[in-house]
């Protein structure tokens, strides 16, 4: 008898109706096939209102799923995640009345809803993980539960008139067994595939680790290029350092360096420059041209009144002279002051002027002589300062020249 009863229990599925026909609903026997065929997975509920607390999620879900005949309860909850499941309903329809009960596994419904808080988006995401049920969905059974009564009371407190009328209509139709038309839950968010991929551990085409590796490779390439650029940068300043070193060597003036030798050569050039300055100074008054002019003047002066052998002794030598000593210069200055008129008359550059003047005096009156003398003095004073001229002239005369000048006959000089 026990064996027969066990067989009858096992062979009879839960979803068999009173008439004995098989219902088109999921049951433990065909659960696997229904799960594979069912497409109601990962329904992303949208739009989700902004809940201030996770306790507000359940009433919102009840408003959606009670018309569907689904009585939801909390399976587990956390501060940022809540999981809802379908209330297990014991139904004795189709079971053997003699049996004491059935195992809890047969009442395990795979229906799940997950609500998770996204810190990034600052909102709750609600997803139907599995919309398959292992039992019949009946609204009339839900209306008898205490949770439903609390739910209706909550709607009245919130004064949600539209929802109240909707549920009143459903209750009336369910009580009189009138046909119910339930709304369809649509999913237009477009995120269902992404969630499915995440849950089934299926990586999408755009793999984050690969992109991260690519980024790493890019950084490596960049680092390589940076290293190369550094090498190039290192190579560039090397000649600069060389140039600096060369400059330092040049500044130090080492004798071994050719450039420093060039600098020595420059120094030599500077010495030559100083010598040139000295030569120029002496040539101004001891130059051959000067001497020639001087000699010519003297010859002209001497040849006209008295030609003779004494004139040859008046010729000056052409050798370069040396500057006078201090004592000699003083003597020369003192003598020049005393014999200034004679000396002025004997200067070579003025010889021609004197001759011209004498010619003019012959043709003119005696008063003109005095005028001529004054004019000559004026011209000399205007053209040349006496002291400056004498000083410059005396600096370049030697003793020999001075003696030669003294050897000239003063009578000839006084005549002119």
């Amino acid at each position: 008898m026990k064996a027969k009863s066990m067989k009858s229990i096992i062979s009879v599925p839960i979803s068999v109706s009173k008439t004995g026909k098989m219902k088109l609903t999921a049951s433990p026997d065909n659960l696997a096939s229904m799960m594979s065929k069912d497409q109601n997975k990962l329904i992303h509920l949208d739009p989700v209102p902004s809940f201030e607390d996770r306790h507000e999620i359940k009433p919102w879900l009840q408003k959606i799923f009670y018309p569907q005949g689904i009585d939801i309860v909390i399976e587990r909850s956390d501060s940022s995640k809540v999981t809802f499941k379908c209330r297990s309903v014991r139904s004795k329809v189709g079971l053997n009345p003699k049996s004491k009960g059935s195992s809890s596994r047969s009442h395990a419904c795979p229906f799940r809803i997950r609500a998770a808080y996204s810190v990034r988006l600052q909102k709750w995401n609600v997803v139907v993980m599995n919309n398959i049920h292992s039992h019949e969905l009946r609204f009339d059974l839900i209306t008898k539960t205490d949770d439903y009564k609390k739910f209706k009371e909550n709607l009245r407190q919130k004064n949600d008139e539209k929802a109240i009328k909707t549920f009143d209509e459903l209750e009336y139709k369910a009580s009189l067994n009138l046909p119910l038309v339930t709304p369809i839950i649509s999913c237009d968010c477009g995120l269902t595939k992404e969630i499915e991929a995440f849950n089934n551990i299926f990586l999408p085409l755009s793999n984050p680790p690969l992109t991260s590796k690519k980024n790493l490779l890019k950084t490596n390439k960049n680092s390589v290029s940076k290293i190369k650029s550094r090498q190039m940068d290192n190579s560039k300043p090397r000649p600069r350092l060389k140039t600096k070193l060369d400059a330092d060597l040049h500044d130090t003036g080492f004798l071994d360096n050719f450039k420093t030798r060039n600098s020595c050569v420059k120094i030599e050039k500077e010495d030559s420059l100083t010598n040139l300055n000295e030569i120029d100074f002496t040539n101004m008054f001891c130059n051959d041209n000067f001497i020639q002019n001087y000699n010519q003047g003297l010859m002209e002066l001497l040849t006209e009144p008295t030609p003779g052998p004494s004139s040859s002794s008046c010729i000056l030598p052409s050798t370069p002279t040396r500057p006078l000593s201090q004592s000699k210069m003083d003597i020369a200055l003192s003598e020049s002051t005393t014999s200034s008129p004679n000396f002025m008359e004997t200067d070579a550059p003025y010889g021609d002027e004197i001759i011209k003047v004498s010619k003019d005096t012959k043709s003119n009156a005696p008063t003109a002589d005095t005028d001529i003398a004054t004019n000559l003095g004026k011209e000399r004073n205007e053209n040349f300062g006496m002291l400056n001229y004498n000083y410059e002239a005396l600096l370049h005369f030697n003793d020999e020249h001075f003696n030669e000048l003294n050897s000239i006959d003063p009578a000839l000089i006084s005549k002119y």
């Binding site: 209306t143 009328k165 009143d168 209509e169 209750e171 009336y172 139709k173 009189l176 009138l178 046909p179």
Partner: protein, 120 residues
């Protein structure tokens, strides 16, 4: 008289043509043939316009879309103090024209107080 047999004759277009009936009969038939079926929304609008202080109206098409059988529930404080017969007459008067087209009609009228006791 005992031997005579009376034969029933069906009236159709051919019979009408042969006996030269008036065109009014044809027009009436055509109008009946092309009338639109009654809908839930149409009934709802008729009742809302006729009965004041309507709180809720539930219209159910029991013919699954054919428009031949309806179940109506009207909740209004207008029915306060009225008998069930008077309430039904008020609703029937509002949907008089539609009642000529439908096959079956059921009407229940409640006040808001009565309705709150029926539902949870």
């Amino acid at each position: 008289m005992t031997g005579e047999r009376i034969e029933k004759v069906k009236i159709n277009d051919e019979f009408a043509k042969s006996h030269f009936l008036t065109t009014q009969w044809r027009e009436t038939k055509r109008q009946r043939h092309y009338k639109m079926p009654v809908t839930e929304q149409g009934l709802r609008e008729r009742i809302e316009s006729a009965i004041p202080q309507v709180y809720h109206i539930i219209v159910t098409d029991l013919s699954y879309g054919c428009g031949q059988s309806f179940d109506i529930v009207v909740v209004s404080d207008f029915f306060q103090g009225k008998s069930k017969l008077m309430r039904s007459r008020a609703v029937n008067k509002a949907v008089k024209e539609e009642l000529q087209e439908i096959h079956a009609f059921s009407c229940k009228c409640y006040t808001e107080e009565e309705w709150s006791k029926i539902v949870v």
